[in-house]
Symmetry: C2
Subunit: 388 residues, 2 copies
Amino acid sequence: MARQLGKAAKTSETAGAAGSAARLSFLQQQFEAERLDAFVVSHLPNVFYLSGFTGSSGILLVTPQDAALFTDSRYTVQAADEVHEARVHIVRGSLLNAVGERLARLRARGNVRRSSHKNVRRVGFEAARLTVLQKHALDKAAGAKVRWLPWDGKIEAARAVKDADELRIMREAADIACSSWQEILPLVKPGIRENELAAELEFRMRRKGASGPAFDTIVASGPRGALPHAHASPRAIGKNELVVFDLGAILRGYSSDLTRTVFVGRAPAEIRRWYAAVLQAQQAARDALRPGVSAHQVDAAARQALRRAALDKKFVHSTGHGLGLEVHEMPRLGRGEKSILRAGMVVTLEPGVYVEGTGGIRIEDDALVTQTGAEYLTCANRELIELE
Amino acid sequence: MARQLGKAAKTSETAGAAGSAARLSFLQQQFEAERLDAFVVSHLPNVFYLSGFTGSSGILLVTPQDAALFTDSRYTVQAADEVHEARVHIVRGSLLNAVGERLARLRARGNVRRSSHKNVRRVGFEAARLTVLQKHALDKAAGAKVRWLPWDGKIEAARAVKDADELRIMREAADIACSSWQEILPLVKPGIRENELAAELEFRMRRKGASGPAFDTIVASGPRGALPHAHASPRAIGKNELVVFDLGAILRGYSSDLTRTVFVGRAPAEIRRWYAAVLQAQQAARDALRPGVSAHQVDAAARQALRRAALDKKFVHSTGHGLGLEVHEMPRLGRGEKSILRAGMVVTLEPGVYVEGTGGIRIEDDALVTQTGAEYLTCANRELIELE
């Protein structure tokens, strides 16, 4: 293909386009407190969120009055279709260069008062997204008089709270993952390979409308389950083994994320005890989840439940993460995370236990924070399934 | 899933591990010319190339004497399995912080001459990969006395030339794409949806051993083909339409990339003329491809062939790109690209013609630069296929 594509914000029909005007205006309202004259948005999911543009090459320049999307000639038709609240500039060569030059021109115009743009001096940029080299190019093209201000997290914070359109898509994306997983269960038998099951899962998600898997599907059987990130391998599943499935669908730009663990055979008492502890940890996290609590409280609830079962040392990652246009977005539910949960946020709850040499157990659901608590978007059965 | 995964370098059995020692030593040999005391490698495909590590979180710190991989507790087992030529540090918290602190300690030790490490002062980093925020964290942890030097492209240049093990995998990845495409051809009929065909393609690639698609599969029918990056949509294919297929497989970390265009029905004379011109442009690029020529000469050869057919204005992207651990890597075959082609490089050749309202034609193959010319790794038929 002709250039690399981003993982998120990549389908041509999405929820975002409709809300562009409101989202831009919400962002612009925050300019004043920081005395920002412009903001360079380079992270593609953020560009999509604000403009509706789904191409793989685009930078949005937002000023207090308006917005302009810079892209290249591969996207002339697509940008005209998708972008309504920003002028579109088709650029030959470096987009960052074009954005920097535009800033320099705006400043010059502001100086001679020929335009509504005031003197453009303080410009925000995404320090967590722009590389050192990209920033250097922007710097050079804009000239020495721009004062650059790292201005991260503002769009991400807005994205964390989903609107009704986004939630409708996310429920559908969750359903696609759940029903695909339920459909392949009869295939899980000793002898079938992990990557055959991954192929079946991804095929079913695609057929149900997903534009692709949200990440490399994990099917990790037996001892491989002790690696929290073991991608599906050619390993054949054996009898009396745990198998961890971690899958997600991208639907109109939005991801789902589901993990289930089954036992092939009749599970011994110790495995049943571990499974029950993980399920209790997830339930504890869900019980803790409501508007006003902090992210680390939800993480601590899961961790505490595992500590009661003396399994907290086997839980080697955080309890969950925000989900939406990216598979991992704000808020992170981990140790020391102070962000406060709000109604409309969607997070995963995914405690796990990993035992070297034996395997892993992880149970993951996508949960919407409601006015009073939380609601699962993923609805597949959570009890231990023994396949005999 | 528990954290986002990179798109490349993500399978557990790859060609890279064996060559780690030689690759590290080749890199270290270049330190002297720049008087580098250390090099921080943060780009995951580069980390994999040098160390064999396939995890989604890892930084490699290379000194003239040795190398150390910093990762987190999710990868304890995996790193021990995969990494043989670097010490592994399992870090709690920020990897960049740990790397920076390690640099500070090495410097202190160098100062008191208790170690073989000389005074660590000049440290290279990947300016094209590290974000402004990441660089800031590294800076802070390492202390003020480090002199940071952007040192981009060295590993990428080495990666551009493939060794025999890598080529064996890439041939297999190319075969998977080609045979999957040939298998779904009988399904291409009026009424079938683009995304059904994408699902069939990805399923077949998976079943043949791919760990996943190398990028979002493109199936673009009728007028949608005029968008060079139209992902497969729910649109049903109509009679008398062009359909562009752009697909690739990831096999043990390495990508293939194949585009074919078919006509559903009997193609009118104008379409045949366009198709012939694109095929000639690809042939011209292939004829130009050999060790010693520059990337822009190959691009110019394709562009010239299209100019003879008065179609060069309809060719809106560059002729090709390097292919390997990333779908787009060095060298880029485009206007003004001065890099010189060398035997062992693998590049795509993918001229195209895009006509708004009608559709697109693109033909793309993966070509290996040999000692005397070029050889295609992708072997599917290139002639116009009319499906009646």
